[in-house]
């Protein structure tokens, strides 16, 4: 598209600016090429963006059997993203900008290398009719004195094909700044501006697309790695003289199968949420080793941690149901192992029949 626009700019500008055999170029043709045409095409471009219905030029263009497989894939993507109109606008502005740049290039080259004689001809209009129109065109560059049209210049450059003048060639060159300003203000600058806006709009629209938003969300939420923990070892044997602390309030009958435990009343302690104040005080004042029986499925709480800080011994995480004791679930056991790994004076005890 850019190449096409540039080629068109080169050819048209060269054609118009070359003039006739005397180098005479009709000013009105130039105004058509550098003012009216850019304004009209710009309006068409902007209007094509408005309204969803009607002929979609982008779709018509894409449907032409001109494109390679790669280009067709690109078009399909823009259609999926509902960006084909924006894409066409972007492309057309790039092409129009290339057209303007090529026209300017030709203009400079011809100004440098040849004598362009700007004239105007009209059967119906005279200089006084044309001046207000040219003044209106020149409004945007009011500060640029030498690029302003004047009645004197208009009268001096009015031409007829029947006359061969050329007495004062410099006078005929007097319009070049006006033409340059016309190109800059009605072709190059608006196109450059619309191209930037169209590009920003294209990027914005593309970012607003569902898939783009989802991709951004995926990046915003990286997968968090799982943590690893230090686990305390599990022992299966107990020292012979050890007190039993029934922290979880399990029925003693359930513990009978565990023959390693000395369940005589004088060997029992009770502490924890179910203990009376006296039982708690008695357990806290115990200085020997003890086996604290806890519910395997309940996580260790701060209350237990507070109690264990002042003693030493073993923890027995127990699991049971109506049928009796059963081995604790590995996840529950690991939770207790993790807990005990922070307490150097405590270990996990699990009888072999529950291992």
């Amino acid at each position: 598209m850019v190449v096409l626009g540039a080629a068109l700019g080169l050819i048209l500008s060269w054609g118009v600016l070359s003039g006739d055999q005397h180098g005479r170029v009709n000013l009105l043709y130039l105004l058509f090429l550098y003012v009216l045409l850019p304004i009209a095409s710009l309006l068409i471009s902007l209007v094509s963006l408005l309204g969803r219905k009607g002929i979609n030029l982008a779709r018509l263009l894409i449907a032409l059997p001109l494109w390679s497989a790669q280009q067709q894939s690109l078009f399909r993507k823009t259609r999926q993203l509902n960006l084909h109109k924006h894409w066409l606008l972007l492309q057309s502005q790039a092409a129009a900008l290339a057209f303007s740049c090529a026209s300017l290039l030709v203009f400079f080259v011809l100004l440098l290398a040849t004598d362009i004689n700007f004239v105007w001809r009209s059967t119906l209009l005279d200089a006084t009719d044309l001046l207000p129109f040219l003044n209106t065109i020149a409004l945007p560059w009011g500060f640029w004195e030498r690029a302003q049209p004047s009645l004197v210049l208009l009268q001096a450059t009015q031409d007829s094909r029947l006359l061969i003048s050329g007495v004062d060639a410099t006078r005929y060159a007097g319009w070049w700044q006006f033409i340059l300003a016309s190109q800059l203000y009605y072709s190059l600058l608006p196109r450059a501006l619309v191209l930037v806006v169209a590009r920003l709009s294209f990027i914005h629209q593309a970012r607003q697309d569902l898939e783009s938003r989802l991709q951004q969300e995926i990046i915003r939420h990286p997968i968090t790695p799982s943590k690893s923990h230090v686990l305390a070892p599990v022992v299966t044997e107990l020292p012979s003289a050890i007190a039993i602390n029934n922290w979880c309030g399990v029925a003693l009958s359930l513990l009978k199968p565990l023959t390693e435990l000395d369940l005589r009343a004088e060997n029992l302690l009770v502490a924890g949420p179910l203990a009376t104040q006296e039982q708690q005080a008695s357990a806290e004042s115990w200085h020997g080793e003890q086996l604290v029986v806890v519910k395997a499925w309940e996580p260790p709480l701060g209350e237990l941690l507070d109690f264990l800080q002042h003693g030493r011994g073993y923890l027995l995480p127990l699991d049971w149901d109506e049928t009796g004791l059963k081995p604790p679930r590995p996840s529950h056991l690991q939770e207790w192992q993790r807990f005990v790994s922070q307490l150097p004076q405590w270990r996990i005890f699990l009888p072999q029949q529950l291992g």
Binding site: A69, H221, E298, P299
Partner: protein, 463 residues
């Protein structure tokens, strides 16, 4: 706490905050994750992972609420003892709880309880969570009593983590402390159940009804939008897969044969990567970000190119033949109309027969290598697109099955997906005849590399 906010519609709604409290490791974070549809919330089997109360804002188009994930009770017996000392009568209990939270010594000694009680004294409602798969224990009474002292509207949720064995036992205990008791499994509770849970609070706090009702409507609308988004992801996926081809310039036929395996490999890996991308987007559409996706690990046809499994995911051979005949006949009808009936319906009959034949004889055909001459000399070797009529149905079948699984998956569930081919063919049959016809015509166009304008709309009823 300022209890009102103005919704985008200009309606003033009451600010709703729920604090999820309970023993450690009873599924509080799972419940927050499921209700807030946020799978970034850390759910861990390690107790005490939640150290600070964290507020999660659930925002919808017009409403919203806050969910506070709190640390579990650590020293409830000692806290209860402190409260008993500071509130001799019932009318002073709520004040005692506030005093407890404000007390610097308590903040040091009981940081977990201070964290979990702070949102409650600021106006949050209570969602108390217990494990229904384990027996009730008297040690829970201290924490339930503390919660009762706050005087806040409350609901107990029995989370059957492993089973429902002790749910009845828990219900008997919890009804003594909480006005509403519900069984709620954050891993399996469907969307309706989640809405019901929020709605239940309108009975406890009637001034929250406006917010919660608007929220329910918004969440339901959000589901509809998510479904439409899934249809868009699918429409783009199926179009991309049906159109894709890999090509490379070659000098002659021999060279084309040499590069064929590499071209085929490139083609297949692109197709698989594209499908993988769509699946990731599908997860993201339903706000699942923490699931590791490895298609080869799923109980899901691991290979998009495994022809043997195609009939499980696409259409059966009979269905496929009918679909092709229907699509062919529809195209023929267009010709008949163009000829104002002068073709004596031969267009429709001929089109139908052509579709039938291509579906029957081309059903086992996959992508093939083709060689095209180039204008400036040499050749272009192309692999793809797949011409098999069942291919779009396979892509659609796999995707909608996955979509259903993901849309029903709760955010607390971080396990791997387990999927199996089931009822895509049934789903197609159950569609209205006009929708079926549109689907078959769309698939017929796609396999001919023609774009379908309203593909998303055609696919929506399947999801």
């Amino acid at each position: 706490m300022a209890d009102i906010f103005t919704a985008t519609t200009g309606i003033t709604l009451e600010k709703v905050i729920f604090a999820v409290v309970g023993h450690p490791n009873k599924g509080k974070s799972s419940i927050v994750s499921t209700l807030s549809q946020d799978d970034s919330i850390n759910i861990s089997g390690d107790s005490g992972t939640t150290k600070k109360a964290t507020c999660y804002q659930v925002k919808t188009a017009r409403s919203g609420y806050e969910l506070v994930d709190t640390p579990g009770f650590q020293r409830p017996t000692k806290v209860m003892a402190w409260l008993n000392q500071h509130a001799p009568t019932a009318n002073l209990r709520a004040q005692a709880v506030s005093a407890f939270v404000a007390d610097p010594q308590c903040q040091q000694q009981f940081p977990d309880e201070v964290e979990l009680l702070t949102p409650l004294i600021k106006g949050a409602a209570i969602l108390y969570v217990v494990d229904g798969s384990r027996p009730y224990g008297a040690e829970y009474e201290a924490e339930m009593e503390i919660l009762r002292w706050t005087g806040r509207p409350s609901m107990a949720l029995i989370n059957p983590i492993e089973s429902e064995q002790y749910v009845a036992e828990w219900e008997r205990a919890l009804t003594q402390y909480f006005k509403i008791v519900r069984v709620f499994n954050p891993m399996t509770a469907d969307f309706t159940r989640q809405i019901e849970l929020l709605q239940a609070f309108t009975y406890l706090t009637p001034n929250w009804a406006g917010t919660l009702n608007t929220l329910s409507e918004d969440l339901q609308q959000q589901r509809i939008t998510q479904k439409a988004n899934s249809a868009m992801i699918l429409s783009r996926l199926v179009e991309d897969l049906c159109f894709h081809r890999e090509s490379q310039k070659v000098l002659n036929q021999q060279q084309a044969k040499i590069i064929q395996p590499a071209l085929e490999k490139k083609y297949k890996s692109w197709m698989q990567a594209r499908e993988n991308q769509a699946i990731r987007e599908l997860f993201a559409n339903y706000q699942h970000f923490q699931i590791k996706i490895d298609l080869s690990q799923l109980d899901f046809p691991p290979d998009l190119f495994d022809l043997d499994k195609w009939y499980a995911w696409g259409l059966t051979k009979q269905q496929l033949v009918s679909a092709a005949a229907l699509a062919g006949a529809a195209a023929g009808v267009t010709l008949d109309i163009a000829l104002a009936g002068h073709s004596l319906m031969l267009g429709a009959i001929g089109g139908g027969l052509a579709g039938f034949g291509s579906a029957w004889f081309g059903a086992d055909r996959l992508a093939q290598l083709k060689l095209h001459g180039l204008p400036l000399g040499g050749y272009e070797a192309c692999f793809g697109p797949i011409k098999n009529r069942n291919f779009p149905y396979v892509v659609i079948g796999r995707f909608i099955h996955l979509s259903r699984q993901i849309s029903e998956r709760n955010h607390a569930n971080r396990g791997q997906l387990s999927l199996a081919a089931t009822d895509f063919q049934q789903k197609v049959i159950s569609l209205e005849k006009s929708t079926q016809k549109a689907l078959h015509q769309a698939c017929d166009k796609l396999i001919k590399q023609q774009t379908v304008d309203d593909l998303q709309t055609i696919l929506l009823p399947l999801l």
